[in-house]
């Protein structure tokens, strides 16, 4: 599990809080350029920022960000590690698998290593990150409530059997209808 924090607010306040927490402001929108510890920030919009870090740093970062944002009236943050399921899709066929569900052009020429986008993936919202450096794989962040759905789709899209467990259904049984 990765440590994830989401922050929203005015850009100046966000930048100020990040600096107070010892984090750097992203060089560009939709780019993830982590430091040597694997920690980095991503601007997903003018007022939306994501901090991505190794799980081991979650507590320390939560504390630092808490202190930093407590002093910011114009920005807020929250630990959202639990809110996102994280998938890693790698290998020679990674792009072909994702393109079954992603309308966004994820080819290396357009979506270079380190690129990040909040986009659609098989009808759900996902944040897609092309691995920095080698850029040979992708990390997907999807709402944890949709993790089973996405996992099942990823399995089938990559040629494996479905993985979703039976037991859920789309509508109440007739016996419950008065």
């Amino acid at each position: 599990m990765a440590a994830l924090f989401e922050a929203r607010g005015q850009a100046a306040a966000l930048a100020h809080a990040l600096a107070a927490a010892g984090l750097s402001w992203p060089q560009a929108h939709h780019r993830f350029e982590p430091d040597e510890t694997g920690t980095g920030t991503v601007l997903l919009g003018p007022a939306r920022l994501l901090v991505i870090a190794p799980a081991a740093q979650e507590s320390a970062l939560a504390e630092a960000l808490g202190r930093a944002f407590d002093g910011e009236a114009m920005a807020d943050f929250e630990l959202v590690s639990d809110m996102y399921a994280v998938f890693s899709v790698s290998g020679a066929g990674a792009l072909d698998v994702l393109r079954q569900g992603a309308p966004l052009d994820l080819s290396g020429q357009v979506f270079a290593p380190g690129s990040v986008a909040g986009t659609e993936l098989w009808s759900v919202t996902a944040i897609i990150l092309r691995h920095p450096g080698s850029g040979t794989g992708f990390t997907l962040f999807v709402d944890t409530s949709l993790a089973g759905y996405v996992a099942d789709w990823l399995a089938v899209a990559s040629g494996a059997p479905p993985v979703l467990k039976p037991g859920t259904m789309a509508s109440p049984p007739p016996a419950l209808t008065p």
């Binding site: 929203r8 920005a75 807020d76 393109r99 709402d143 409530s145 089973g148 419950l176 209808t177």
Partner: protein
Amino acid sequence: MTARRLARGGLVDRSVPLAFRFDGMDLSGFAGDTVASALMANNVALVGRSFKLHRPRGFFGAGHEDGIMVSRLAPRPATNQLATVTPLEADASYVSVSTWPDARRDVGAVAQWFSRLLPAGFYYKTFMAPNWHLFEPFIRGAAGLGRVPDPAWQPVSESRYGDCDVLVVGAGPAGLGAALTAARSGASVMLVDDGEGPGGRLVSDGIDDGGWASRTFAELHTMASVRLLCRATVWGYHEHNLLTVIERRPADAPDLDLRNWKIRAGQVVIAAGAHERPIPFADGDRPGIMLASAARSFLHRHGVLAGERAVVFANNDSARGAALDLAAAGAAVTLVDIRPDPGGTQAAMLAGRGVTLVAGGCVLRAIGRKRVEAVQLRQADGRLSTFPCDLVAVSGGWNPAFHLASQTREARSVWHDDLATFVASHGEGRFRLAGAARGIFEAGACIRDGVEAGQAAVRTLGRTGPAIEAPDLDDPFVARSVAPLWFVPPRRPGEKVFVDLSGDVTTADLGLALREGYDSIELVKRYTTAGMGVDQGKSGNVNVIGIVGALTGQATDLVGTTTFRPPFVPVEFGAIAGARQQARLYPWRHTPLADWHLARGAVMYEAGLRWQRPGYYPLPGEDGKAAASREARAVRNGVGVYDGTPLGKFQIKGPDAGRLLDLVYISDFGKVAVGRGKYGVMMSDDGLIMDDGVAFRLAENRWLLHSSTGAADKVHAHLEQIMQVHRPDWQVSILPVTTQWANATLCGPRARDLLAALKPDFDISRAALPFMGMAEGHLGTIPVRVFRVSWTGEMSFELNTPARHATALWEMVMAAGAPFAITPVGSEANHILRVEAGYISTGHEVDGTADPYDLGLGALVSATKPDFLGKHAMMMRRALDPERCELVGLLPGDPERSVPEGAPLTPGGDKVGQEGFVSACVRSVALDRVIALGLLRRGRSRMGEIVHARVRNEIVPLRVVAPVFHDADRARVRS
């Protein structure tokens, strides 16, 4: 027709014979055959029956312009496979569609005896009484479409997206030229062709290109920026250069049957070629009569000579190529050209190569029933003669295939006099037509045109397309000097001249449509179904327009055209769906406790905004209602726990956070103390309730807003719109955190006892944690945030923890709750409990027409706030309509009588305008009877009155009571 396989020629592999069956006959073909070419090679002329009249039919085209379909019984049973594009498979078994017992002996052919009773639109006139639906199954059953075998093959399908700088449609001479040019410029290119390989006309017409096509294709193969799709057809051209492509048996994925592409292209080059059109004449639909291009294609692609004694019937130069090729392959060929002087010295040249020219002649009628045996000819001097033949190859000119350009709605159909057909006007820059698709037919010119199209395409992308030298090709016979002949009028009444073979439409049908007032070409099309069959009018549509022009005395270009729409070819729905089936059909959401619920036998279904939640947890032998009642009783008498994770949660922070809440809620939030919460009703601009929820003040300027589950997305969008559009100057940040937190809501009179048993490290006394209070701390090592809210009419503690601790928290709660007989509670029990307590629910009482006063929440409307969203609209509506529907309780006269939720309340139960409806109905565990809530006009002033619900033809009397059946003073909630 005596068709046969030649010893040489074609792209089939004669070293790989394939045995197959068709309509009970054991036959054989070769690898590389289509079903159609293999049947032709076996001299099987009659391969199907026509759509309406069950007339004998053979192959008319060699590609998508043909309409003969087969059912495949084995392997992979499927129906409606277009024979001309379906590759032959070893040991496969095929049958003709909609014939019995087979195409040769079809009993349905009896329909021909009644053909005079079955003109265009006959079913509109004949089968009106008593009801069309009485006849519909028989008529549809008799129509010429295949019946899906049982069990049917389930193709493995994939749908996927693609992107490229340049998409080239068609790998014929123009397409290859365009693709090579674009690819050499460095652009990313996708080249899509519906054939087994590249070449298009270069292959079909046997034009010696010195290997240019295969060399070009090989070069494209080596380029990383190029993706080649064979057996793939572009079937739709949509907005913003999105094109859809159906790819059959993709070369890169052996386990796939179908792949549907959605491709976003920077530029598109449409080099889709052209379709030859017929010259319809009497009985011109007999097996053995086909397009000249089809005869040529069968010859060059499959090494099949379609007949030994051929008549080539033409009005343009292109058929000479077919005539010469057939003659060179050994057929005796007579070229009947309607033009009196079709090209000076050509007669001698043709004679020298074995082709007899009948200049100025005309084929009047085909003779033969199950296959053509002769044609009736009229010579230039008017003499009539009967000419024996086993093949008639027809060429009435060519229709450029600009369907895709037309689908963009940017290109119009423009009449071209020299070609006697329509061509497309230019687009607006996002696509280009090239080659035959824009009326250029000579192969070398097509290549050059493709190169220019490729250069123009990459130029718009800021690239330079290199010049490419086109080979010198010998291609003298193309569609030139076309003498339009839309049909040959029948000599005798009753002779049928088919203009659309797929839809069984004759020239008489067109005349009938015009006589009956369908004088627009679009109406003619719809009334007769011309162009609406399997081939979508690819070959015959222009003839239909020409004939309508001839019958109405209009110039062809003034008749108008019909509209090209996707799909260009039939596309399986399964291919479009791809993996979108079963659990992948719809994005259901699950809480982190889904496995826990399922392990305890929970029955799950949607309970708002795609969340799958436990409906109830049945014990052995229990049905849903019994389980829900048991769970509800547990909450009333002891303690229950339910999963409230899906409730919407939004963290709101900033100096103006309080102002935002005061704006969106009807209540006054300014006085809420830190650590306390308040119930609020949120309205939309129109003064009607949008949602209800609770906001807790975490700090002076920091709140946590809870919305209902089903309205969470709507509430989020509402808040964002206010902040981004209406109040951009306010200093507020909104952070959605719904799924960060998992939930276990303890509810019931023993809830505090249970919480105490969990050993919290914070004070849970009534004084410290009262109703609408909150606390933060730990239960053991699990961090929790506790809110005192209730939706059950009992004391409740909502325990929220980061989702990673969800299962551990629930296990801990269940273990500590065992002495209290804790019971997991599903949404059905929750529904019972909230109805008993008289709490409103979005989707039930909050139905989009109610305001807070209607639902008895008027006391929540702030009297001190100057304004809030929806206030003015609400007040104005109430002033104009004082007789509002108000929330009431309803008790059926029969205490066991349930009433469906949504049942209308009408005066006396009569079938008149309703005065309200039943919003919820449950069997109460507190009162041990059925109770209901409803919205009733002037309801609060009608307490004790008997009103009536109409349930189909039954009238159910209900007594109006107060809408709270349990804990009316909320003492238990506040305990």
